[in-house]
């Protein structure tokens, strides 16, 4: 929040944010070679190159290669690109970047790249898979994920998932999907003979007569406050 003591309108405000910026990653420091390739690319997609801000990245170059940032920057500008900063580990390049009025970013280390890709993988939590029948008296909870039972859920058994519930066999016990309140969670089973089903807290118990007559794949979902079984 901006601190406004005098009651006047603030002149500006600093804001953090992640902008998407094109990075130009160099595999060589040979200015002639870079220029030729850039010309070819410019001819192919001139619109992309017109006034596009880019970060010049030099991490892929070996540390002892001599980089003439001034020339490379000039070549980029001739192709229509607008270098705004560099990203590198070499101190020499950093110094010349500042001299040229460009910003500097620290290099992306391998470790950090790995961390990023790892955290991306984890954002989709794998479903919990149960290979045995779930028997009377057993309770299984799949936290933050789907639950897949490769078998039946017997009378007196209880399965709970924060995501969807998939049962490859018969559902004879209790099944609870969307336990943390996910309204879109669903329950699927090959044969519906449930004691109770619940989605996001909306539950229904069943007598034998209430089971669907056709013993086929059944899907249970939520429509408003009602459970839909089909």
């Amino acid at each position: 929040m901006a601190l406004n003591v005098s009651g006047q309108q603030a002149a500006f405000q600093f804001k953090g944010g992640a902008l998407t910026v094109t990075t130009l990653e160099f595999f060589t420091a040979d200015v002639g070679y870079i220029e030729r390739e850039l010309e070819q690319q410019t001819r192919r997609a001139p619109a992309f190159f017109s006034h596009t801000p880019v970060v010049l990245a030099f991490e892929r170059l070996s540390g002892d290669e001599i980089v003439s940032l001034e020339l490379i920057s000039a070549v980029c500008k001739r192709s229509g690109l607008m270098p705004i900063a560099v990203r590198c580990a070499q101190d020499a390049i950093k110094q010349s970047a500042w001299a040229l009025g460009l910003g500097w970013f620290p290099p992306q280390s391998e470790k950090r790249l790995q961390e990023v890709s790892k955290s991306r993988e984890l954002s989709v939590k794998p479903a919990r898979i149960v290979r045995n029948p779930v028997r009377s008296g057993q309770q299984i909870y799949a936290r933050d994920s789907d639950l897949i039972v490769v078998g039946s859920v017997n009378e007196g058994a209880e399965i709970i998932a924060d995501g969807n519930v998939h049962i490859w066999g018969s559902l004879r016990g209790k099944a609870i999907a969307g336990a943390q309140g996910n309204l879109d969670a669903r329950i699927f089973c090959q044969q519906f003979k449930a004691e109770l089903v619940s989605i996001a807290g909306v539950f229904q118990t069943f007598e034998k007569e209430e089971w669907p007559e056709n013993e086929t794949v059944t899907e249970i979902g939520l429509d408003g406050d009602n459970l839909i079984i089909r």
Partner: protein
């Protein structure tokens, strides 16, 4: 090295003790040295079914507490060679069973026998857990009715979690024995069919023993029904034991016997 097998069911009165006595006797008849342990401390029955109740001097709890040694407590069967039983105590209760004590007894018996059959009490309390804890295999006895099937389902779940094998990550091989099966009542939909039970419990079927007067007769006489080779139940237990030992035999007594004209005229039931 002996194989430890638990005869269990969850529900009471389904035929655990009858099955334990008959399968044990049949194993001994095949030449396997077999010992039956009654884990129903406080409500012992196996000695009655085996007909050796008058010879019980020391019991399982006496051995556990060091008041007697195993050889004093083991009762030798009079009819079949190589068959022994270790009776439960009638005066104590199931809390007297300790894991270490039971393990020691089973380990001692392992050197002498081919099969150790543990006759489990009903329920899922200490006695039942102790009976199954050291088992490598299980015979789950079930009657064709919903409450029995549900209790068996619970017991199979415990076999998968509360046994030493399960703790070591190995499965206990559980097999299903359906007793008191009455094909006529199944046909009238009064009773669950073998297929229904198999579908729910999802373990291999080792045998089906029909409802039979011979079972009650045998229990009261103190002779395991498997000795009555004329009876359907006796034959069913012989089949069951053969399948338990890996032999393939077709299931019998699953269909209603159509009575012929003559037997309808002259008696039958």
């Amino acid at each position: 090295m002996a194989r430890v097998v638990v005869i269990t069911s969850g529900k009471g009165g389904v035929g655990k003790t009858t099955s334990c006595a008959s399968i044990g006797t049949a194993l001994a008849m095949q030449g396997f040295r077999t010992v039956l342990i009654d884990f129903d401390v406080g409500l012992r029955n196996l000695d009655l079914v085996m007909g050796c109740e008058r010879r019980v001097v020391y019991d399982l709890i006496n051995v556990l507490s060091g008041e007697a040694n195993l050889s004093q407590a083991l009762i030798k069967d009079k009819r079949v060679d190589g068959l022994y039983m270790l009776p439960a105590s009638q005066t104590r209760d199931k809390d007297a069973l300790t894991t270490e004590g039971v393990e020691q007894i089973i380990n001692e018996l392992k050197d002498d026998f081919d099969y150790i059959l543990c006759d489990s009490p009903a329920g899922i309390e200490r006695g039942a857990i102790m009976a199954m804890y050291f088992a490598e295999a299980a015979v789950v006895v079930t009657n064709p009715e919903v409450s029995s099937v549900r209790d068996s389902d619970r017991i199979i779940g415990l076999l998968d979690s509360r046994t030493r094998m399960a703790e070591e990550g190995k499965p206990v091989s559980a097999q299903l024995l359906i007793t008191r099966y009455d094909p006529e009542r199944v046909e009238h939909a009064d009773m669950m069919s073998v297929q229904d039970i198999e579908e729910i419990l999802a373990i291999p079927l080792v045998g089906v023993v029909p409802e039979s007067d011979a079972v009650l007769r045998a229990s009261n006489k103190g002779t395991p029904v498997v000795h009555d080779k004329e009876s359907d139940a006796g034959q069913a237990y012989l089949d069951t034991t053969a399948r338990f030992l890996g032999e393939e035999r077709p299931m019998r007594f699953l269909e209603v016997e159509r009575k012929g004209f003559l037997s309808r005229m002259f008696g039958g039931r």
